[in-house]
Amino acid sequence: GAGVSQSPSNKVTEKGKDVELRCDPISGHTALYWYRQSLGQGLEFLIYFQGNSAPDKSGLPSDRFSAERTGGSVSTLTIQRTQQEDSAVYLCASSVSGWSTDTQYFGPGTRLTVL
């Protein structure tokens, strides 16, 4: 079956612009996660969805970052007024139920470059 897909694969934007990153999880997976990976910070957790609600959004770095999930499926991560430090690879993952022993399946990521 299809894995986790993310779009776009690459995004170049100018400082101050808003961007939207999309994640399509594996069909039937109720849990969805966003992470980002940058040279300076490594792999960082951003937010976790169970269904359409987000019980843990502790990793969102500022109020410029927001995410939503609709219909228990697709999720969008929005970054407003982008800054150069937002440049990173944004990774989405999904798992069957969110239990701690669940395997998280990762998408290929979106590479965001803020000029």
Partner: protein, 113 residues
């Protein structure tokens, strides 16, 4: 912030040799997981070891866990050039943070043919 530390940061070996990567963590765990990443993009889950397990095998992979030392190791036996990748350990959060994985800094493994 990263909770785990991995060593070595980089490892270069010849095909056929074994590769051992170590991970230390700071807080108590429910389980510890290892992931592989090729070319800086998607992560692939390799193996999960629960806190009440001491050793686990999957093909050429062997993972050990020592909860008293808060450390784990990943051994890849008879390495192949295709094993070249970055390897990360990750622990699952507890309490309200049970959803997230906290990753170590990773080990870059290069296997020379």
């Amino acid at each position: 912030s990263q909770q785990g530390e991995e060593d070595p940061q980089a490892l270069s070996i010849q095909e056929g040799e074994n590769a051992t990567m170590n991970c230390s963590y700071k807080t108590s765990i429910n389980n510890l997981q290892w992931y592989r990443q090729n070319s800086g993009r998607g992560l692939v889950h390799l193996i999960l070891i629960r806190s009440n397990e001491r050793e686990k095998h999957s093909g050429r992979l062997r993972v050990t866990l020592d909860t008293s030392k808060k450390s784990s190791s990943l051994l890849i036996t008879a390495s192949r050039a295709a094993d070249t990748a970055s390897y990360f350990c990750a622990q699952r959060g507890g309490g309200t943070s049970y959803g997230k994985l906290t990753f170590g800094q990773g080990t870059i493994l290069t296997v020379h043919p």
